[in-house]
Amino acid sequence: MIAGAWLCLCAPLAGALAITGAGERISRRNAGWLSTASVFVAFGGAVWSFLGLRSHGSEHGVISTAWTWLESGKFHVGLSVLVDPLSTMMMLIVSGVGGLIVLYSIGYMDGDDEERRYFAYMSLFVFSMLLLVQGGNLLLLLAGWGLVGLSSYLLIGFWHERPSAVAAAKKAFVMNAIGDATMALAFFVLIAHSNSLEFTTSFATAGHLSSTTVNLVALGLLGGAAAKSAQIPLHTWLPDAMEGPTPVSALIHAATMVTAGVYLIARTHPIFEQARTVELVAAGMGALTLLVAGLIALVQVDIKRVIAYSTMSQIGYMFLGAGVGTYAGGMFHLMTHAFFKALLFMAAGLVIHALSGEQDIRKMRGIGTLMPWTRWAFLAGALALVGLPPFSGFFSKDAIIAAALHDHWYGVVLAVAALGGAFLTGLYTFRLYFIVFGHGQVSDAIDGSHHGEGPKTMLVPVGILAVLAVVGGWIQLSPWWHPVTSWLSPVAATLGVAEPPKSQEVLASVLAVALGLAGVALAYALYGQNRLAVPRLPGVQRALEHKLYFDEAYDALFFRPAAALAGVLRRDFEEPIVLASGPDLGEGALEAGAGVRRLQTGLLRTYVFFLGTGMAVLAIVFLAVR
């Protein structure tokens, strides 16, 4: 079991190192296969751990420490992996979906100059993500947390000749660094109080902390989670991150990394439970994000950006779920979301690949007729996303809405937001679907550049994921059948308040499905059949197209002042004062020297005069002092 976990963790790292080290001695294609293999080995390891854990029957999982990673005084942190239900679930998702996406990349990246680098990065990412989920203590979790950010940076900026890609990569990293920093601060508090970052010790400590302190800790963790999961206000990097290759978007910015925030909340829920306020803030944040992202998604014309906003929105659901206490619900949605969102991205990738990189949905009209498989796959994903039964999204999303509804007035607000989100989801998803795959004139631009359906390496993973997107939700149909919840209960027991009665479940499901369908219908009317004119609200539209001016606001609030401050410091402090003060003093000394030098007239009488004066003064002083 433990060996499986280590295997799972190390295989992708070994893959990354092997590809890097081999350099040009390995062919591009083989690099791709090597990477794929390493991730599937990891999946094998994950399965091994899963089976082992099942038979082992351990309640809280097993920690295996390789060696002490960091130690100072009483504080010490091992390089250890944790195998427990939560981590195994994540391992399975990460390595499984990851393996499929890496496989898909072989086709997608075929022909790129730097395929090797790509696959090395991909393996590195999978390793980092596994470290994040397997890390046996908070510090290793943070290490994985940072490393996924790094891999994300590397992969977003993969096409580094594009300034926009580089800028997006930097933005993603910096935003994530903010999250890392707040998490680190939260850890400092824990260390100060318990000298430990072990999960159990820390959670136990949290119980003894004052409410302010524990709220601060939770807030720090939430900062990290929000940054990683692109929740408002730290969300602006995610749409830009679509500059990366599409499989990257599928893997990192849809299936795995961005959902790490949910994992973090689930993992550290004992702390959040001590800090209910913060937990509710998280839920509210999720609600806000899911609405805002849904709205923005309505007007985007870049296929990947639409899906990206949809991702933000769906993660908003997960946060909502975790925030109200149904950690398992959040995790369940995380899993199904991984399936269908990866699917959507990969289907979109097929289209983009077929169109040689074109991402503007207005130029894709009619592609569906040329790519039927892709179209079906996309449709499966879209339906899962909207959450219509029996597609996977239905089961997971409705559980969250139901849980939210259960809470008092705040819960109602959250549930209303979530239901609004369901409507929006239907609308923007099918707007996308109808524009891209709807019936219509195949645009001229497509004809010339179209490559047809992609290669098998791409279609097979898409197919598998399409199936998973359909059936993935069936493993849990709360409240009647809930293996996921039970599986996770030892580590992420759902809060009592989040245990919704059956009536609520039904109510939530009905409402959500109805609203989702309404959205789909509206989209059909607007875009599928063009029966209705898209309402003209230029102000709103412009605001949404500018993503509600978040970027502009951050630019004006943070970047510009900081840059200006740096400029001012440099121009008005560093150069004139710090750098010049030394030379100025030196100038002063030199001037004094020139003064002394002028005394040295070369005239004998001056010299004698000074000698005589010196004598006289010395004598006077001596006489006076004696």
């Binding site: 990673w69 960091l70 005084g73 504080f75 580094h160 920093a181 400092f188 100060a192 740096a566």
Partner: protein, 484 residues
């Protein structure tokens, strides 16, 4: 040869090598080869010493003691503590890499050059092992002598001004230290660092600290830094920032904190503020620096601030983190500056406006620069992260705001370092980047890859340093007892 003489060997071997190079009329190639050999042997000696080091035992090891000036109680007293062992290791490894770099690029006037490099090695090792104040001071100053010539002769166009600034600034500090150490030594009747008692004098503390804050440097004593780092040959800049600056922070720990506990306590907030200022200010300026070395230079200043933050937080985590960070940052900045050198050799410039797009077709350069840059911004999981984490966790225990400032600096570090990476490697090809500019050659790889390798190894096991810097579990106690 007894075990104790290892330390002396570490000092004298490079000095003897320098002498041999100056005296023997060797060819250009043979000179470089001899120098490299000597520095590699030096590394070997250090490894042997590290292997024999007893990390469980407190107190000085490999110590040697000879009377030097009897009537003032000055002695030749050298020896190593665990943390000095690491700093010595940093020195010898960094120097070997830099000597190798000089060999690789074929510096003009090789005999003078390599002699000076070896001399510098000996002097720097001396700083870290000296256990007598005057001896420490002598080595502290002796480092400047070769530096002055190395920068002044082999440096860039503005080298003359830069050298003068470097020397005057650092000497301004260290001469006041001389005054302070005279007063201390005569007052307590010995210059021995081990035997000497603590002193409550605030003036003396400030005298010592001034030298260290200039050398490190902390804000606002860094007036010498930008010019020196820009004008020096890259390998010398690497030493300056990777090793020499650490002498400043080492001095803070070994002398300022250990010998002046009461003043250190009294001025703690002031110094923490300076350190934090260095951290933030350096980061901000690094973000605006227009060239490769400018960024790394200011980031070094920021890192010195961070280390000082750890040391003066006065906590166990802070001390351990500071030592770890000294070593990690030392290796990082050596690698970065050597990389800056390789970039400059290919493009003749370090100006970002003229660079860009170097990653295309140069995978080795790109990979190494990226790796080092990422390590430098302390990505979680790296050795530098471990150091930074410990330092900030330690300073949090002093007061929460230091950790918050440090956290801000984490973000700033990401900003400037990514800016550097993309300005050099990414986006459109710069006007000075030609297709003929090759990827890193074998020689260069042989220098930088081991450094990065050590860093990665440390990232995998930072505990190698963090738990082996102070005997026992509580560095605070060890420092309070003055490492006895």
């Amino acid at each position: 040869m007894t075990v104790s003489s290892f330390t002396t060997v570490l000092i004298c071997l490079p000095l003897a090598g320098a002498l041999a190079i100056w005296i023997l009329p060797l060819s250009r190639y043979a000179t470089g080869a001899l120098a490299l050999l000597v520095s590699l042997v030096e590394v070997g000696v250090w490894i042997e010493q590290a292997a024999r080091f007893d990390f469980q035992r407190s107190g000085l090891q490999f110590a040697q003691h000879r009377t030097w000036i009897s009537d003032l109680h000055v002695s030749y007293h050298v020896g190593e503590y665990a943390f000095s062992l690491w700093l010595v290791g940093l020195t010898v490894v960094a120097m070997a890499a830099c000597v190798g770099y000089g060999f690789w690029v074929g510096r003009e006037r090789p005999r003078a050059y390599f002699g000076l490099m070896l001399f510098l090695t000996g002097a720097t090792v001396g700083v870290f092992v000296a256990q007598d104040l005057l001896l420490f001071y002598a080595f502290f100053e002796a480092m400047l002598i070769p530096l002055y010539v190395l920068i002044g002769v082999w440096g860039g166009a503005g080298r003359l001004g830069a050298t003068i600034k470097l020397l005057i600034y650092t000497m301004a500090g260290s001469l006041l230290m001389l005054a302070a150490l005279i007063v201390y030594g005569l007052k307590v009747g010995t210059f021995d660092l081990v035997a000497g008692p603590t002193s409550p004098s605030r003036w003396l503390f400030l005298g010592f600290m001034l030298a260290f804050v200039i050398k490190a440097p902390l804000f606002p004593f860094h007036g010498w830094l930008p010019d020196a780092y820009r004008e020096a040959p890259p390998e010398v800049t690497a030493i300056l920032s990777g090793v020499i600056a650490k002498a400043g922070t080492y001095g803070m720990l070994r002398i300022a904190i250990a010998k002046f506990p009461e003043p250190a306590h009294y001025y703690r907030t002031l110094i923490l503020a300076l350190a934090a200022a260095a951290l933030v200010y350096g980061s901000i300026l690094a973000f605006r620096a227009p060239d490769f070395r400018g960024v790394v230079a200011y980031s070094s200043m920021a890192q010195s601030g961070l280390i000082a933050l750890g040391l003066f937080s006065g906590t166990t985590l802070g001390y351990d983190g500071a030592i770890l960070q000294m070593v990690a940052h030392g290796l990082i900045s050596v690698s970065l500056f050597l990389l800056a050198g390789t970039v400059e050799r290919r493009t003749t410039t370090g100006q970002f406006a003229l660079l860009g797009g170097m990653a295309k077709g140069r995978p080795a350069l790109a990979t190494l620069l990226l790796t080092t840059g990422i390590l430098s911004l302390a990505v979680p999981g790296s050795a530098s992260f471990a150091g930074e984490f410990l330092i900030l966790a330690g300073s949090y225990q002093r007061a929460w705001w230091w950790a918050v400032i440090g956290a801000v600096a984490i973000v700033l570090a990401a900003m400037y370092m990514l800016r550097l990476i993309s300005a050099v490697l990414h986006e459109a090809r710069g006007s000075t980047v030609h297709d003929e500019a090759l990827d890193l050659r074998t020689g260069e790889l042989a220098l930088i890859v081991p450094l990065v390798g050590v860093l990665l190894a440390l990232s995998v096991w930072p505990d190698a340093i963090s738990h082996h810097s102070f005997a026992g579990d509580m560095p605070t106690a060890v420092v309070q007892e003055q490492f006895k």
